[in-house]
Amino acid sequence: MTTGTIDPEATTDDRVPVTVLTGFLGSGKTTMVNYVLREQHGKRIAVIENEFGEIGIDDALVLDAEEEIFEMNNGCICCTVRGDLIRILGNLLRRRDRFDHILIETTGLADPAPVAQTFFVDDELAARVRLDAIVTLVDAKHVVAHLDEVKPDGVENEAVEQVAFADRLVLTKTDLVDDDTVRSVVERLRSINAVADITTATKGVVDLDAVLDVGAFDLERAIDLDPAFLTDTDHQHDETVTSVGIEVTGELDGPKLNEWLGHLLSTKGVDIFRSKGILAIAGEDVRHVFQGVHMLFDSEPGQPWAPEEQRTSRMVFIGRNLDRHELTTSLQACLA
């Protein structure tokens, strides 16, 4: 399903923000959830988790969900959603009780795609909640072993997926390793996901702004890219999961761009986990902002260009088998 649904209500945003918390068993998710609930004085938070943890906070509602993943697009393996979330959140949002934030904790081995895609696919949910960020907790001591684990053919390495999907990576248990290890872990995470912010947590204590109201799915947010990342050629056409950032100067032809992106995501969407872009379209006074998870994407108008401003477009792809050269020349071919 390659759909670009633009919800007019989405721009006047009183929708409830949703944070998706992923991370392997032992990465400290439950500790983090407890910390967030304890520190969020006066905020009503609903937590949806797959197994009841030890949470007992007055202002929080904890709901147990049994993960139900189903395919949406006549059996396409990447177009999956969480049916249980549609039902549970649907009921929650109908209530008179209003929540300030919804926290969804996934199981350790969960692929974040079905959770994220649920918010793209179900219009009823999309009108009431907005995906704020996918936050992945990474255990500094064990993550490299998980990332290096060789899986049988066709089986995804879930740790790699969780890092690739993240908008925010939170390093935990940094007190158990030395600084050199932390540096090499960060470098390894960067090689997979070059755009997620990385922060650290000690014993579950993290800057709350780093996990709540991140606004990573806020399409207005600029994509801040390290210039070096735009020219990095280390990982050309690589079977491992990497990030590719592209920048082109000038205006893009709308129809050409639509055709290319539509084709790219419908044919390569299984391999492209995340895509983001801020685009200059010919004849438009405003930026166009773009977000995709596998084959599903949204785009909408963003901030206006200043009158004399140099028009540039930036795109980021995170996935497998990414060919920087091909992606770059394809985007350049869309120039007006």
Binding site: M1, E66, E68, F70, E71, M72, N73, N74, G75, V81, G83, D84, I86, R87, N91, R94, R95, R96, V121, D122, D123, E124
Partner: protein
Amino acid sequence: MSTTRSLELTPRWSTAFEDYLTVARFGPDGSRLAAGSLSGEAALLDAETGHRSALAPHEMGVLDLSWSGDGHLAVGGQDNTVRLYAAGSLQPVTLELDRWVTSVAWSPSAPQVAVAYGRSLGVARVDGSSALSFDDHPSTVEAVGWSIDGTRVGAACYGGLHWYQPAEPEATGRVFAWKGSMLSLDVAPGGRWVASGCQDASVHVWRLWSGEDLQMAGYPTKITELAWDPTGRYLAVANPDEITLWDFAGKGPQGTTPLTLAGHEGSIHCLAYCPRTGLLASGGADGLVAVWQPPKRSGPVAAFDHDAEVVSLQWHPDGGALVTGCADGTVRVLDATAH
């Protein structure tokens, strides 16, 4: 079917529940109705006066209720229970289950009720004795329903509609398959067809019992509201702010263009045909209840504005009134007077 020139909707009474009114349904003789809300309140309401008799609450909310033809009532909720009230009784038999009760439906031919809970479809007798349970569906069962003669019971879930014969529980069930999450199950009066709305924005109508699948795809969003007219010829589909009407006469609707009924300014949440007059009522996010007379006219013949989203709707069995339920918890009976 009578020919209605114009119809007036006037409020008879209204009463407030504490939260989102999930469902309100008249009993078979029309003297009372049952209603439940996400606050967990459930009650019987006198159709004339609105006088309320409380039923046992369902903590975290009532999700569905159903009346049998002889006045038994089943109420299911998010507290993992279904309560069965034998006709005339306010003392329920409570069945404790292990999942939310998402849908309940009485058999048209015997005093037994189908109950959707988690991935299971259970069948229970009115005294609460459990007759059967069909488990391990591919996903949570979203809706249950019976064939016209009551010999088969169906479950809508991911992957299609699963059918069973309660009288022969060992017999292999049938599956009307579709790789999508089915959200409803509506057997047409007359029993020729079963319709189901899908999360993937398509409607599937299977011919009973050949299993031939007619599909109506290309809707903007998931299909939650369907209604058959009382003759079983027309299927009304709400999506999102318009109603499309498919004609199943002759070879069926494939390749035909449906009639469109437009007038709502927001998503349509509920549809109900009047079994007596054939009039169609719709309620939506815009607070409007509109009454239509398809296929004769494409504009509404009557309308009534509510202060909140209309989320539940049903005709009185005599066709002279409607009950509406709103997102703010209001239950209202509207007199429908023809001129």
